[in-house]
């Protein structure tokens, strides 16, 4: 069965520090991979997605993610965090066929001054 794991429930970083949010998936074949961000009281916004090709994907708001097939991982990174990045971050996978998403449990990011 497919699953998505985000091992870190909550992360706190200082403003200006670098950030890495972890995501691991379990799936029979390489799925499509996504990162979404949910600001407080808001819906989900797509940060970036990986379908194929270059394993380093650039997204909006200065985020990037790297797909590592050998580790079944798709970690999200940002070199310098801003206070406005405080939010809930969700990793999601989708099978190559069909259009169903499977979300991880989310990582809550707190940014301190």
């Amino acid at each position: 069965a497919q699953s998505v794991t985000q091992p870190d429930i909550h992360i706190t970083v200082s403003e200006g520090a670098s950030l890495e949010l972890r995501c691991n998936y379990s799936y029979g074949a390489t799925p499509y991979l996504f990162w979404y961000v949910q600001s407080p009281g808001q819906g989900l916004q797509l940060l970036l997605k990986y379908f194929s090709g270059d394993t380093l994907v650039q997204g909006i708001k200065g985020f990037e993610a790297e797909f590592k097939r050998s580790q079944s991982s798709f970690n999200l990174r940002k070199p310098s965090v801003h206070w406005s990045d405080a939010a809930e971050y969700f990793c999601a996978v989708a099978p190559v066929t069909g259009n169903q998403f499977y979300f991880g449990t989310g990582t809550s990011l707190t940014v301190i001054p």
Partner: protein, 116 residues
């Protein structure tokens, strides 16, 4: 312009009542979804409709009935509300997926349902 909109944003009701949540998308997408996000922020798909036809129906109590009057709307009706139905419900839409050409989902702002 709001791409995916939901009404109401907040819904507080008593156990046993029947309520509906409406969703509309103006993106011209063929596929729409309902997700439930519980108190631990876990997001789980409930239903998916493609061109008004049900294509995904996860294990959801039959008290939940989606209705799609046209491909731009997917409403969620809930009968006999229970305490455990309290959650945030998100609507989403995407273009119909074609093998090898996945289209992202666009989410609405959510409806926070509280059952007392």
């Amino acid at each position: 312009d709001t791409a995916v909109s939901q009404t109401p944003k907040y819904l507080v009701t008593q156990m046993g009542n029947d309520k509906s949540i409406k969703c509309e998308q103006n993106l011209g997408h063929d596929t729409m979804y309902w997700y439930k996000q519980d108190s631990k922020k876990f997001l789980k798909i409930m239903f998916s409709y493609n061109n008004k036809e049900l294509i995904i129906n996860e294990t959801v109590p039959n008290r939940f009935s989606p209705k799609s009057p046209d491909k731009a709307h997917l409403n969620l009706h809930i009968n006999s509300l229970e305490l455990g139905d309290s959650a945030v419900y998100f609507c989403a839409s995407s273009q119909a997926s074609v093998i090898g050409d996945y289209n992202e989902q666009f989410f609405g702002p959510g409806t926070r349902l509280t059952v007392l």
